[in-house]
């Protein structure tokens, strides 16, 4: 158990900078999740922490000890891989005990520790099977067993759930969190799935293009995103964005959504006359008696909730390529979404009036993509 520190970590491949200015403190026993789209450098950061990739600059410390130049075996960490990386020719027992064997532990002690780990993970009946005779979920647990049996200073997990089917993923997700809470081992977990990040982490590190975008709890990231990327990435479906000019109305700053004026947070008063990007989450938009009217283009019924799609008014449409959302393939500047949980029936083509709760509107500077005001 230990703290983990990244200090000015850099990684370049030739002229390409994969990671720059990576500074992060992870507290003892914390569950820290690195999240970001593919190619954002999250796995590289984890591999540098594991010692599987060399750093180009900076220092990494585990438990206050500088491990930057140490090999993976000397860092006292355990790692769980995406495809589990079990040794196919070894039984479950030998797979779990391999790390201890490499440490030169006596066979009897290894066996005790392996059986204890197997008991915790409910793997006892499978100890003498080969990995190929196990299901995906069981293999996953063997990989976890291999990590916990070592009693390392930190667990490193590289997308450990992505090879499981949806149901098992949700189940294993909570098992990992419970296990981590019980063992209290500092854990660094990499995923591209923001749901995993939100549900599991004490601390989330959102990355993009090799840079940390924001570090914080799930609450922080969800309610006070630093920039347009974090705002769009966290949450499912992601935040709606639209474009507008700030004007001064009778009761404070306003902007036009379509032809209708909507009120903006008070801080926008200082931005009068400027073009800004506004964001509002689909679940914060309200169907109302008055307010901007929109025509539904698609109604997705998910049982408890419904996702309503409507066209972003032409003058409010964002030029995605000019924002930090340029590479987000799921994003469509032409539509905005509303997430509703009610008993009303919605039909395609129906016209609704919306209200934009003023305290839920996020304001971003189109030039910097950072939150404004």
């Amino acid at each position: 158990m230990a703290t983990v520190q990244f200090d000015q970590i850099k990684k370049s491949y030739g002229a390409v900078e994969a990671i720059r200015d990576f500074n992060l403190d992870i507290a003892d026993g914390e569950f820290c999740v690195f999240v970001g789209p593919s190619g954002c450098g999250k796995s590289t950061a984890l591999k540098m922490l594991a010692g599987l990739e060399a750093t180009t600059g900076g220092t990494i410390s585990i438990g206050g000890r500088d491990v930057t130049e140490l090999g993976p075996g000397k860092r006292d960490i355990a790692m769980v891989f995406q495809n589990y990386a079990l040794y196919p020719h070894m039984s479950v027992r030998k797979n779990i005990g391999f790390g201890l064997k490499m440490q030169g532990m006596a066979a009897r002690d290894i066996n005790t520790r392996v059986e204890e780990a197997a008991r915790v993970l409910e793997l006892t009946p499978y100890l003498d099977r080969k990995p190929r005779a196990l299901s995906g979920g069981q293999r996953q647990r063997v990989a976890l067993g291999r990590a916990i049996v070592r009693e390392p200073k930190a667990f490193l997990m590289d997308e450990p759930l992505s090879n499981l089917d949806a149901k098992l993923r949700v189940q294993t997700r909570s098992e990992i969190v419970k296990l981590q809470k019980r063992l209290g081992v500092t854990t660094i977990y990499v995923t591209h799935d923001q749901t995993e990040a939100l549900t599991m982490a004490d601390k989330i590190v959102v990355m993009k293009g090799g840079e940390i975008q924001q570090v914080g709890s799930a609450e922080d990231l969800f309610h006070t995103p630093n920039n347009i990327f974090v705002a769009g990435f966290i949450g499912s479906p992601g935040m709606n964005f639209f474009h507008g000019t700030v004007a001064t109305g009778a009761d404070g700053p306003v902007t036009r959504f379509g032809e209708t004026k909507i009120a903006l947070p008070a801080k926008c008063a200082a931005m009068a006359g400027r073009d800004m990007i506004f964001g509002i989450r689909p679940e914060h938009l309200r169907v109302a008696e008055s307010g901007p009217s929109v025509g539904l283009t698609l109604v997705e019924n998910l049982g408890t909730e419904k996702i309503l799609h409507f066209h972003t008014p032409g003058q409010n449409m964002l030029e995605l390529d000019r924002t930090a959302l340029a590479n987000d393939e799921e994003r469509d500047a032409q539509s905005m979404l509303i997430r509703v949980i009610d008993d009303r029936r919605y039909r395609d083509g129906e016209t609704l009036n919306l209200s934009f709760p003023v305290d839920k509107i996020h304001v971003f500077d189109p030039d910097t993509n950072e939150v404004a005001g």
Binding site: L52, N83, H89
Partner: protein, 315 residues
């Protein structure tokens, strides 16, 4: 699926095949057999018939085989000679020695070169080509070159050995039994290790990188990773390549024939050379065929092991 066995279709195209819809589930198998038939017939003619013929010849007292000339009565004399003569046992012994030396050393050299060119370094593509080169040279051409290089009077090898002071007089690769056997082994390994290397390289590349990474995190050093990860993962491939090399050494004729003609004193007479000697030097076709049949049976047993291994090697 439409039913094309309607009277209309049947009449318009005529013929039996046109009336059967081969895409229908109940006829699908028939179409498969129909497509297989030419290949099966061809194999029967060019593989099965000669095998049967040689088994037949091996049981006749034939000097020069002539087909359709009225077969000799069947006899087991050739097999009595086969198991009774020291020649066969000697050839078997030479063959097994050769298999052991060539197979063993090719695996070691092939493994080492495969591991080498599996590393990332500048000029890896060139190194891979270089490793595979002996395999690309035609066997007879390569052997003729080596025969010249190993020549006791004019050969490059002896000249180098003398110049470097490793030997005081030229090694008689042609007349010293041990030297001749060593020369054959050397050329066979030179010719045989690239295939090993290529197959083992393919095997090495199929080992997931994560297994090595996991082992590194677990604290395994270089040798431990080789012993606990590389070797067990490679065993099926090593098995298959070893059997393939064994089959090749068993049957190879050109290298030994060009280099030593099986001599001196039968030191390099393998079963293949013995077959050739009996059939085309002594014109005892029946005895030659008997040796051939023995070789075939041994190879069949080894092939069976190969197939078994391949089936098992699927994780």
């Amino acid at each position: 699926m439409t039913d094309t066995t309607t009277p209309h279709r049947g009449r318009s195209s005529g013929g039996l095949f046109a009336t059967i819809d081969f895409s229908a589930p109940r006829h699908r198998a028939k179409f498969g057999y129909l497509l297989l038939a030419p290949a099966v017939l061809l194999m029967a003619v060019i593989i099965v018939y000669p095998i049967l013929l040689s088994v037949s010849i091996s049981m006749q007292d034939v000097r020069i085989a002539r087909i359709g000339d009225g077969a000799e009565p069947w006899t087991l004399e050739n097999y009595q000679w086969l198991f009774g003569s020291g020649e066969t046992w000697h050839a078997l012994w030479v063959t097994f020695k050769l298999v052991a030396v060539v197979g063993g050393l090719s695996v070691i050299i092939g493994f080492a070169t495969a591991m080498l060119v599996n590393q990332k370094f500048r000029g890896r593509a060139a190194a891979r080509l270089f490793v595979a080169l002996p395999w690309a040279v035609p066997e007879v051409v390569a052997t003729v070159i080596w025969a010249w290089m190993l020549d006791s009077s004019f050969g490059l090898v002896n000249w180098l050995l003398m110049r470097s002071g490793m030997v005081s007089e030229p090694i008689a690769f042609g007349s010293d039994p041990n030297a001749a056997f060593a020369a054959v082994c050397f050329v066979m390994i030179w010719k045989g290790y690239p295939l090993m290397s290529i197959m083992l390289l393919a095997g090495l590349q199929s080992i997931p990188e994560e297994q090595y990474q996991a082992a590194k995190v677990d604290g395994a050093g270089v040798w431990q990773r080789f012993w606990y990860i590389t070797l067990p993962n490679m065993l099926p491939v090593v098995g298959v390549t070893l059997v393939m090399t064994t089959l090749w050494v068993f049957r190879d004729f050109a290298i030994i024939h060009v280099l030593t003609q099986g001599g001196p004193l039968g030191a390099t007479t393998t079963l293949s050379i013995l077959t050739y000697e009996q059939s085309f030097e002594f014109f005892r076709m029946g005895q030659g065929a008997a040796v051939g049949v023995l070789t075939m049976v041994l190879c069949a047993v080894i092939s069976r092991a190969l197939v078994g291994r391949m089936a098992k090697s699927v994780h």
